[in-house]
Amino acid sequence: MHFLVPWMLFGALSAGIPVALHLLRKSKPTVVRWAPMEFLRKSLKETSKKIRLRDLILLLLRMTILILTALALARPSTLSLFGSGPVDAVILIDNSQSMSTLEGQTSRLDMALTSAKQLLGNLPTGSKARIISLTDHTVELSYNNSNESDAIASALLQIKPTDRSSNFYQGFANAIDLLKTSSFSQRKIFFFSDMQRPGWQNESSSFKTLVQNMPSSISIHMIRHGSDVDSNIQILDFQPTAGIILANQRQTWGLTVRNRGIKPATGIKTTLGLGSDFETAESAVIEKLDAGEERSITIDLLIPEDGHQIVKVVAGNDRFSRDNQKEKIVLARKKLQVLIVGAKSEIDANRDNTFFLYHALRSGSSDSSNSGIEVKVASGRGATPDTLDETDIVFMVDPMLAGSDSVSDGFMEKLENWVSVGNTLVYFAGSNYAAVSDSNIKNAGKFLPTTNPTPNLVPSTIATENFPPVGWFNRFRSAPLNLINQSEFRKRVTFETSKDYQTSALGYFSDNQPLAEMKQLRAGFITLLPWVPDLSYSDLPLRPSFVPFIQTLLSRILDTLNDAKNPLISREMSLRLQPQDLIGGEKYKWVSPTGTALAASMEKSVDEVVFRGEFLTPDAGIWKLETSPPSNSNTNTKNLIAVQASNEEGAELNPLQESEIDEILGKNVSHQNNTGEASITGSTGELTNLLLYLLLLFFVFEMFFAWWCGQPL
């Protein structure tokens, strides 16, 4: 047992007051000259024992009351959380997305903050505390004085729920660093979290090393908030099945929904609509989704206007609601303008190497006149800078870049700028590029990689099993589209890589070389394919899966174009606008989905204006860039971005077991569960309440006894 306010124990000395009063009373009695002394003596003899006993009982009662009062004020505690003496505490608060899960009417985060506040209030006198909120990055809140309730409340108020994922390692690392240099004998880390699996499993291997190297005087205490979740409906993604979003056309959207709970969910109403407030919407109901089941459904939607639009989907309603909805900003077009720049086929002089590609792109709709894609082919010097002005996407197929068949003057420079401001180029690279001598094309080397024919190529196929399991190309993992792997590639090129390249592969050949790669070029990107869709390279253009492949590639590319408007949640956000789209104003600010305003910085160049913001705790949802003071252009949808939360948090809402956490840490630590109302005070083992009850009991008994004895206090 120890005492949280030990100096109050000196109050127990007041137990001597009743004794002193008792003695004082005896020393100064009233004197009465009395005649019938014999009777007095007799009656005294009869009752003296009773009187002495009563006196003793009263004295003991009064002393006990004073001692109990002193003890209660000294706040004894049997808590293993606090030993005796002050504590240097680091409070880690998990405010990742999963902490917004409701437990009754209260979120896990609110419960954790309440617990933390109680624990901070119960720290022994002279303690010190730092508060760190952590998701997958840490924020240390400046707070250096413990036992100041206003400072505590203020520090805790700064912790807001976020839509970020969990990664606890960095938080613990920061906490241990802070405590390493502490001079306190008691150094403790208190972690308030729902102990969700992903938070522990990210960098789990590093945890053990971290804890092993931690000074032995630092102790870790886990306080878990949150109960198991029965069912959790999660929207994984949604996109138009056609890839191209056309204005004023009813289109089918594909929605992927998953139940990440442990029990089936039924009657899941899924709504897809336009605008954050569902200006128009359509719904479908999933009758039942078993635990762990993932299902794709389709809903049709008509977007009446072209331009950037907000599309929102909501599915079901459960305790963790953050992943029940998603919003995206999409670009609805009246038509998709595609430019194909190519050259003559190597093996067939009567046609261009763009032939198969052209038809594949045109065949995207049953009614080609209404497909929404307008494809232009420019061969040789037909590709002029002006043609880019009304183009949305450029396919370049190994243009004959030699001699008079090279592209027009200035085309490549403009192409580079055009891509970098947010457009996209699909480059089917062939071996002819190596033979470039034209100065126009040489300049293109700045943004297009040099290629070399792949030497000694063993004919290879497309490894369909290596396509990503989610996303557009998932469909090629299974029949019938997986028959694309029967196509044999006899000829390929190899891109010269440089350290500036950062690409992401969309698929692989059977020899593990990328089938297609995406490379970022400022606001735009280039898709690099080391082959030409021509029979000189492979028989793929003749196969049934070629058209779906090209259509899927197009959808993937268009979807990626939207990524800039739908960034994954991050501390830094940015929005690129073209100068003509710049909203007027002197200062700019970001406005979050919850209405919080944050400063926005601006960088201007000839081609673009970039607005950036650093968000401590970004929310998923629609963020607006607004001028300050406000202007009419604040309603422009070009000023919007839709921040996307990771699906990771909702994938595993139930906590890691205590033994599993201990195993990850490589050490047994103390665990505490507050699955209902936060009661960190009750778990502290403080005996104050018990002592106060006893005190009241004794006090009442003393009053009654003293009255009965004829000796009220």
């Binding site: 009695p29 004197v31 009465v32 019938p36 009656s43 009869e46 009752t47």
Partner: protein, 314 residues
């Protein structure tokens, strides 16, 4: 003196005189008085019949009785006489308890005054003796019984002049009252009335022995016990040092804690006195010094008168 207003005192005396202080036993006196004499002669009041013996006065032969029984019987008559009243007034240390005007001492003086005047008004001889520590000779009074009015006057003046004594040092005193009673029983020849005015706070067995002796000698006995209400009810509160008025003892206690037991002891003692007096055919009168005594005194006198009349009838 006790706080009985003067006109009430006069009224009390008048009423008391009317009731008289009757001897309930046979007393011996030298003069004709109101009291019964133990001797039988020929007087006014018929007492009993006896057989005629030669020499009896023929005037006393009960001729009606002869007519009835054809035997000669004579009437005998009560010989009425006065008595000597001996008043013992206890002025020992224990009698000083009580505030001025309500002390036992003052009440005892009052009662002595009244009783002496009653007896004197009946033609009875009154004598008085005070009982006190011989260390205070000025407080020791002794008046031989007399019927002379001037003697009575002096007696009453002396009694009145007695003022409550100063605060005394605690002293170990012998049982003064027992001694005084013994002296009476040893010296007195003629049967008379003994009136004892005291708190009787001496060992009761000793007192009882002397009282028994007095009664055995045929004296009528009136015990007027004067106590303060405090001594009966014990109402005090708080921490009190009780110092004995007649010894060197003291005691610190809280009366509220002892009250019940004390009252029980006092009641037992008073009951014992009552029972003893009843058994000995003595009269016991309890007077509270802090309360007016008229009711109790007159009640006692009336009771004695009634008893006397009942006895005469019988």
């Amino acid at each position: 003196m006790n706080e009985i207003p003067a006109h009430n005192q006069a009224k009390l005396l008048e009423q008391a005189k009317y009731l008289g202080l009757r001897a309930l036993t046979l007393v011996e006196g030298l003069r004709v008085g109101d009291q019964k004499s133990p001797t039988r002669g020929f007087s006014v009041e018929f007492a009993q019949h006896r057989e005629y013996v030669p020499g009896d006065d023929l005037r006393h032969i009960d001729w009606r009785g002869y007519a009835r029984t054809e035997k000669y019987i004579v009437k005998q008559y009560e010989q009425e006489t006065n008595y000597t009243a001996h008043v013992l007034l206890d002025l020992s240390g224990s009698m000083s308890y009580g505030a001025a005007g309500k002390s036992k001492h003052e009440m005892a003086q009052l009662l002595a005054t009244v009783l002496c005047q009653i007896a004197a008004s009946q033609g009875d001889a009154v004598g008085l003796k005070t009982v006190d520590n011989p260390a205070y000779p000025e407080r020791l009074l002794s008046f031989t019984p007399s019927t002379k009015s001037n003697r009575l006057k002096i007696l009453l003046n002396q009694i009145t002049a007695l003022v409550p004594g100063p605060e005394r040092e605690q002293e170990n005193t012998p049982p003064l009252l027992s001694t005084a009673l013994r002296q009476i029983s040893e010296r007195q020849i003629r049967k008379g009335m003994v009136i004892v005015i005291s708190d009787f706070l001496e060992p009761w067995p000793l007192l009882l022995k002397e009282i028994f002796e007095i009664r055995a000698r045929g004296h009528d006995l009136l015990l007027v016990q004067v106590l303060h209400s405090d001594e009966i009810d014990f109402p005090m509160e708080g921490q009190i040092l009780f110092e004995d008025l007649e010894s060197s003892g003291s005691l610190v206690t809280r009366p509220q804690l002892l009250r019940t037991a004390y009252q029980k002891e006092i009641k037992t003692w008073l009951d014992e006195i009552d029972v003893s007096c009843t058994r000995l055919q003595a009269t016991h009168l309890l007077i509270r010094s802090d309360k007016p005594p008229e009711d109790e005194l007159l009640k006692m006198l009336a009771l004695r008168l009634m008893k006397k009349r009942v006895a005469k009838i019988q």
